[in-house]
């Protein structure tokens, strides 16, 4: 007899309910495989989001048994306690339908934190030589691999409590640019992350680093921003 999983999937928008599906258990199976099986075999109206399936694009994050996870790299054998899975949309983001959340607030905050690179030179000028061993570049390296999956944002208590808080991913991005020697936008960026809802709103609960699928540490990036903005404010370089 084929072994099965009892899978509860969130159906509906903000108002909805969990619906149970029986899904064949495979020897080697990710949570995304389970969701895809339901969509292809049980209910074609199920909405969810994915693209690369290999942990690069950051589009398939969902809440799995209460924890935000990247579903394409989460094996069922690791998380299905007693053959049961409860899969819902990410927390702290508006639900569009079923397992798909609206990521617009997440990326708007990325922009509010001045997360876009501000070039300091034109393409006619020579490119800076940046030593991989420099302190700045090491700080960038530690934070740069973010894939914007939204897991940290969904895990963050401060995001849940304060709708104006920029969140770990946006601040982590700002930290990579603050340490980028080529960037010319740091005064405005530091002012943006020093305002209400910026880095100082972080309580250092560290849920972001606990849940980050890439084992990044946004709390450390935010701590760096706190130090950098404090120094800039005391020197009079930024105003509120």
């Amino acid at each position: 007899m084929t072994q099965t999983l009892q899978v509860s999937l969130w159906r509906g928008g903000a108002e909805g309910r969990y619906q149970v599906y029986e899904v064949p258990l495979r020897e080697n199976q990710t949570v995304l495989d389970v969701v895809t099986w339901v969509q292809r075999n049980a209910d074609a109206t199920l909405s969810y989001r994915f693209a690369c399936r290999v942990g690069m694009c950051g589009s398939c994050a969902m809440t799995v048994n209460g924890r935000p996870r990247w579903t394409c790299r989460t094996h069922v054998s690791k998380v299905a306690k007693g053959g049961r899975l409860a899969i819902g949309p990410l927390e702290n983001l508006p639900v569009i339908k079923d397992l798909a959340t609206d990521m617009a607030p997440f990326f708007e905050k990325w922009q509010q934190a001045n997360g876009a690179f501000a070039p300091s030179k034109s393409r006619a000028e020579p490119i800076e030589r940046i030593s991989p061993d420099s302190d700045d570049r090491r700080a960038v390296n530690a934070a740069i691999e973010c894939i914007n999956c939204g897991v940290c944002y969904a895990a963050c208590d401060t995001v849940r409590w304060d709708p104006d808080y920029l969140g770990p991913a946006a601040l982590n991005r700002a930290w990579t640019l603050v340490n980028d020697e080529r960037d010319a936008g740091n005064t405005a960026r530091l002012a943006a992350v020093a305002a209400d809802g910026g880095c100082h709103a972080c309580h250092s609960h560290q849920s972001c680093q606990e849940h980050c699928p890439l084992a990044l540490n946004p709390t450390a990036s935010i701590a760096g921003l706190k130090r950098r903005t404090t120094a800039a404010y005391l020197r009079g370089e930024i105003k509120l």
Partner: protein
């Protein structure tokens, strides 16, 4: 929370940290000695040093506590920002008034 409030909060915390230790040690000392209120007052009346010690303590606490309360109100209540800020400023002023009044009552009387 923004960088200005952050600096005020951290600075006031740094000022209070050693003061809290002294405050607790004095409480332990007074308890161990079994001092009555009258005996404590006899030691503190007219003391400029204690007035300065607790004056600094109250000034720091009156800055520190409202900033933390502001964050709690922002995260846990639907109070509009302006009303929240007015409420915590009033709380800070109340702390300062009550504290300095207590110092005046103990040290100056």
């Amino acid at each position: 929370m923004n960088v200005r409030l952050y600096i005020w909060q951290r600075t006031s915390a740094a000022i209070m940290a050693p003061l809290v230790v002294v405050h607790l040690l004095v409480i332990f000392y007074a308890m161990r000695k079994g001092f009555s209120a009258a005996e404590i007052l006899s030691r503190t009346r007219g003391s400029v040093a204690w007035a300065l010690f607790y004056g600094l303590f109250i000034a720091a606490a009156s800055v520190h506590a409202p900033i933390g309360l502001r964050t709690i109100l922002a995260e846990w209540t639907p109070l509009p920002a302006r009303m929240r800020d007015v409420a915590v400023i009033a709380f800070g002023v109340a702390l300062a008034v009550l504290g300095f009044r207590a110092i005046a009552a103990v040290v100056l009387s």
